[in-house]
Amino acid sequence: MATGTDAETDREAETGTAVRLENVRKTYRLAEPVHALDGVSLSVPRGSYTAIMGPSGSGKSTLMNLVGCLDTPTEGTVIVDGNDVTTLSGRERTRLRGTEVGFVFQTFNLMPRLTALENVALPQLFQGVSGDERRDRARELLARVGLADREDHLPSELSGGQRQRVALARALVNDPALVLADEPSGNLDTETEADVLDLFAEFHDAGTTLIVVTHERHVAERAERIVHLLDGRIERIEQLEGVGVEGGPGVDAEYESGTVPESKPRNGPTEGDDGE
């Protein structure tokens, strides 16, 4: 499933849904049970751009971990790229994560002793892709994020924005069903933040499914919709207008908390290539 064509076939079979959560609960057994997620249902269409917002403790991270196949729910089902994560073995889950999920973290999380090129190629290393193929693919992606001339630099020799571009290139290297970004611009200044978000928009336009977790309104507003979490439930889903949605069954969200989704015109200050 490492190649693009296979993934595409799978996507078509799965009626254009990258991720679907059905009544998902996640309970941590601490001194007393903590319901990190308390019955969440959400569908993320292919090619969509979703932002997830919420205060601390609202369940954002837990949701990320579940969608990213890092964790399994206590109850309910999580379906990633047509695979029911709850029924997979640990090894299969790791495989699915490796091939169908790309991660972008707030702290970049690049391997400190590997060059930009090697960092981008790392996910394919674990999929058994040959060295030459990995290098070609990594070069192609570094070029797309505008770092073709930095491939031999170590992360410590790159600026924050450049590191996050490398991380984005790494997230995309296996042509995943979705890219999960956790506060991707949290460690960046305003200018580089705009650059990175522009890049996100660019990949979104090219068909990548994006889920961005953030607590910053202006970051969330670059998405097509914002899912607001509160106390482990979906508080409301906010549709943003003026966003080009290519094909797909549009936004299809179920939620339990009963709040009426509020639509709001998009007032993003950065125009760039978003509106096209």
């Binding site: 971990n65 990213g68 890092l70 964790d71 640990g90 090894r91 790791t94 495989r95 994560r97 490796g98 091939t99 991660f103 973290f105 999380n109 690049l110 391997m111 400190p112 002793r113 590997l114 790392l122 996910p123 290393l125 674990f126 999929q127 058994g128 060295g131 790494r170 296996n174």
Partner: protein
Amino acid sequence: MNPIEHLRLAWRSIEGHKLRSALTTLGVVIGIAAVIAFVTLGASLQVGIVGDISPDDQRNLYGWAADPDTEGGPLAGAQPVFSQSDLETVADLESVDAAYGYATIQSQAISDGDERVAQGDGVIAAGPSYVREGNLEEGRQFEMGEREAVINPATAGQFEENVSVGDELEITFLGGQGATVDVVGITDTSEGLSPFEGFESSPRIYVPTDPYYAEQAAGMGLGDVGPDGGDGDGGGDGDDEVRFLAAVVEAESTAEEDIDDARDAAVASLESDESDASEFLGDDLAVTFQTSTELLQQLQDVLDLLQNFIVGIAAISLVVGSIGIANIMLVSVTERTREIGIMKAVGAQNRDVLGLFLTESIILGVIGAILGTAVGLAAGYLGAWYVDLPLVYPLEYVALAIAVGILVGVASGLYPAWRAARTDPIDALRHE
């Protein structure tokens, strides 16, 4: 993920901590070096001793009669029982090439013309073939019944003007009597020619048992005849026969069955009722014949024991070295928790992580083993050179050392690597 990639990535992280990796490896280096050094020294020591047995000596059987319960080296507890006619009978046996008595004649001094040097214990009476052709630097073997001698270079060098073949020496025996000998040959080594003499270098004169030992025994009432100075007073009746404390029997060839045949035949002949020796032999006196190799085996056993003991102590430092690797790998796993989280997030399976950390500790172990082998060989050779032993290359130990290095790497890396593989990626990614 293939092994080459494992190696590459593991090497990266070792490179990232050069000093730490070097110090970690040091424990293994010292352990393996100590083991290899002692093994090399031991092997050299053994070759130094066993290597002195020339191929001809391999077919010689050295015999004496002693209480079968006596323990010890050559001639331990030996009593003079073999008569000349006994030995002649043995020599006539089909499976025996030659047989002759062996005795050390106590001397006081040797003179070359006017020059006189003190020499005790250095006159050895034996058969002509005792000095093997291969050991002769010049001249020939002495002949039985002649007043001839073969000397070794140490004896020749004692005099201001080196003694050479054709010279005449005068030996003063312990009792004060003198005898002249014609030097007919000089050996190529000053070391002993048989285990009876010991293998150390010292001045020696080889003479025929007849006439020298026969005269001595008759004149002194068979005084001291053993190299150990055992006071054989047995020939006090000194009327007829001269008795030998020790005998040398030469087998047909160095083949084990020939040696066994010769041994069996010689023992049977000497213990038979017809022999002169049989009158002394009984429950508390039995004839023993052994080859140099067999005699050396005892010494070798002691050496082996000593070596195993030292190697065992050296091996302890290997264990310490392994613990060092394990410790540093555990630190490394904790330190790189985040990296482990990243790798797992981007699709590394548990066994990939396990493999990476295991590869790392194996690399440390193998580097330690290779360096340790080099250092150990150098130290061993230096030691062997210092005590003047031949250099031996214990190649199988080098291979073994590498194997031990891998083993140390696996043993010390397994638990840390397992911990790394088990790391929960969610916690790991949150780790600072």
